[in-house]
Amino acid sequence: MDIEEQYDKIYRYCYFKLLQQHIAEDITQETFLRFLESATYRNTGQVLQYLYTVARNLCIDEYRRKAYELLPGDEEGHHRRIHDRTEPDMEEKLLTSIVVREALEDLCEEDRELMLLRYVNEVPVSVISRLLGISRFAVYRRTQAILKSLQDKLGKEDFQ
């Protein structure tokens, strides 16, 4: 396993969950420290499963501890989360993908997580299904449905 590559992906995932850079980094490092201390999952072909499960659980713990005002299903919160990502150095890049971002805003939290895991972090379907507690078929069906809706929206905006 390339730890450096996985570090970036886990960090991206933690940042997506918490939207706080320093906490996301703390949790990423905590995830890897736990992974390195554990001999159970190391070299057993279940490394990704272990990393994402630990990161997800740590994010949930942090989320509960800080009592974030943003709750899953909070539409206003979803909009804010996407817009909070707009930082000066990313502005130009994000302008070009504004349609995608708007389309993502319409998705629920879990669907966005699915898109991040499957298409940005390129996590295998089997790992996602165990992480989210849904079947492989459900993962496939949902990702296809989300992709189709995204592509429909992008098509309308002539963004191909």
Binding site: R12, T28, G45, V100
Partner: protein
């Protein structure tokens, strides 16, 4: 997925650059053992009779070819399938004995163990063959290249067919079927020596080369499928 959409998704989910990544990665100790140590560890688990059989065949060639000064290519060709069958039995031992599940829960994944054992035995057998070929050539009637081809063909034929059989018969019986298959293959050089003498004539050597090329591809495909199946088990 369209590249544009994928790029846009990356952009939408991009996180600010990590500040402490390099310092963290520099300070952590990477887990596990080195590749060479892992291979050595796996070599120690290969059963003694597998090493013994390989060395016995090598010794037979030395005695036959060197001291008795006789052409023993056909004898070696007949012994090659047993070498291949032993290699297969060792590589897929976990699965044959129903221990694959246990092995997957252990420190190293089954795929790595299989690859290491296949690699160790493959390299060891090829080294022995490499040593045998010029030695056999000194006293035999064939060129070094021909000797190599005559030894490799039965070896690869057993490997490709044996791996296919092991994939199809997922139990301990696979080892017996594989050994039966090796016996059939080993009979060919002996039969050819006394009956179908045409097989070892220079005019049909081109066909041996074609067969060797096909068997190289078939063996590579079978190894790949076997490894992929080990991945799927995880």
């Amino acid at each position: 997925m369209k590249k544009e959409l994928k790029r846009a998704l990356y952009g939408a989910f991009e996180a600010p650059e990590s500040q402490r990544k390099n310092a963290f990665l520099k300070n952590i100790r990477q887990p596990g053992i080195g590749y060479f140590k892992f291979v050595l560890l796996q070599a120690s688990y290969i059963r003694k009779w597998v090493w013994g059989l390989s060395v016995t065949i090598f010794a037979a060639a030395l005695i036959g070819g060197g001291f008795m000064e006789r052409d023993v290519v056909w004898v070696l060709s007949a012994l090659m399938p047993y070498l291949a069958a032993a290699s297969i039995a060792e590589s897929v031992r976990s699965e044959m004995y129903g221990m694959a599940e246990l092995e997957m829960a252990s420190r190293f994944p089954l795929k790595s163990v299989m690859l290491a054992r296949m690699g160790i035995l493959g390299v060891f057998h090829l080294t022995l063959l490499g040593l045998l070929v010029p030695f056999e050539h000194m006293y035999g009637v064939f060129t070094a290249f021909q000797t190599g081809v005559y030894l490799l063909v039965p070896y690869l034929l057993t490997n490709a067919g044996g791996l296919w059989l092991v994939r199809k018969i997922r139990s301990r019986e696979a080892s017996y079927v594989c050994m039966g298959y090796a016996i059939i293959i080993s009979a060919f050089p002996i039969v050819s020596k006394y009956t179908i003498t045409l097989l070892y004539q220079p005019e049909v050597f081109g066909w041996w080369l074609v067969l060797l090329a096909i068997l190289c591809v078939a063996t590579a495909v079978e190894y790949r499928k076997t490894v992929i199946r080990a991945e799927e088990l995880i």
